[in-house]
């Protein structure tokens, strides 16, 4: 199934894009997406640790199962104001 991954700030710079449209197996969880986008397992682990996630603009835990067409936002530590 197809999902969109939104990237911001340092993550956007690291991956040199603000959005990735990727295909993942049906039943994939948020956590599993990190394995698909990271360059290696070490990076996937590090990203998992310090990134919050939102699906369709709602915060979710990383064991949530994704659905076709979901918009997954990877949210590095915030700092508005």
């Amino acid at each position: 199934m197809n999902i969109s991954v939104l990237l911001f700030a340092g993550l956007r710079e690291r991956f040199r894009r603000s959005k990735m449209d990727i295909e993942v197996p049906p039943g994939a969880t948020v956590a599993e997406v990190f394995g698909f986008i990271a360059h290696d397992p070490e990076e996937a682990k590090q990203l998992l640790r310090c990134t919050l996630c939102a699906v369709n603009q709602n915060h979710v835990s990383k064991d949530v199962v994704l659905s076709e067409g979901d918009e997954l936002a990877l949210i590095p530590p915030v700092a508005g104001g």
Binding site: F8, A9, V78, G80, G81
Partner: protein
């Protein structure tokens, strides 16, 4: 409760925000805050800050924050405008205004909204230093 939330690329006009947030004699207390790009942060000379935002979610989250503040302190009106894009030092990044019958509630709500914004709202800033380098700031190094 009236809530006005905006994310904008344009310069924040303080006079316009103040005028828009002032009206009515139902409220005895008007409390406002402006956050400004400081020329210095943790010993480094700052020339500007680039603000980035996940706008759709930021607005949702700010809406929730104001609702929480309303529930807790009964504020009558809330107004928040956050600028995004590149701001030079001295420019206003954030304006927040809160209106309530009494001042204690207005101050508590105003501080709550800003504290929660810095913790929960998907906004990021990258500082540009006079020395030439840049750095993404997380809220633990917050400047406001």
């Amino acid at each position: 409760m009236m809530i006005h939330i905006a994310i904008t690329q344009e310069a924040i006009d303080l006079n316009r925000e103040i005028s828009s947030s002032f009206h009515g004699s139902c409220c005895g207390a008007y409390a406002w805050f402006a956050g400004v790009v400081r020329e210095e942060n943790e010993g480094q000379s700052v020339v500007g800050i680039d603000y980035e935002c996940y706008e759709a979610m930021a607005k949702k989250e700010l809406d929730k924050i104001f609702s929480e503040a309303q529930k807790e302190w009964g504020i009558h009106e809330g107004r928040l405008i956050h600028r995004v894009g590149y701001l030079k030092k001295g420019e206003v990044s954030l304006f927040v205004g809160v209106t309530s019958p009494h001042r204690r509630e207005a101050f508590s709500a105003l501080q709550y909204v800003i504290d929660e914004l810095k913790k929960r709202v998907p906004l990021w800033k990258k500082e540009y230093y006079e020395a030439g380098h840049q750095e993404w700031i997380s809220c633990h190094h917050g400047h406001g």
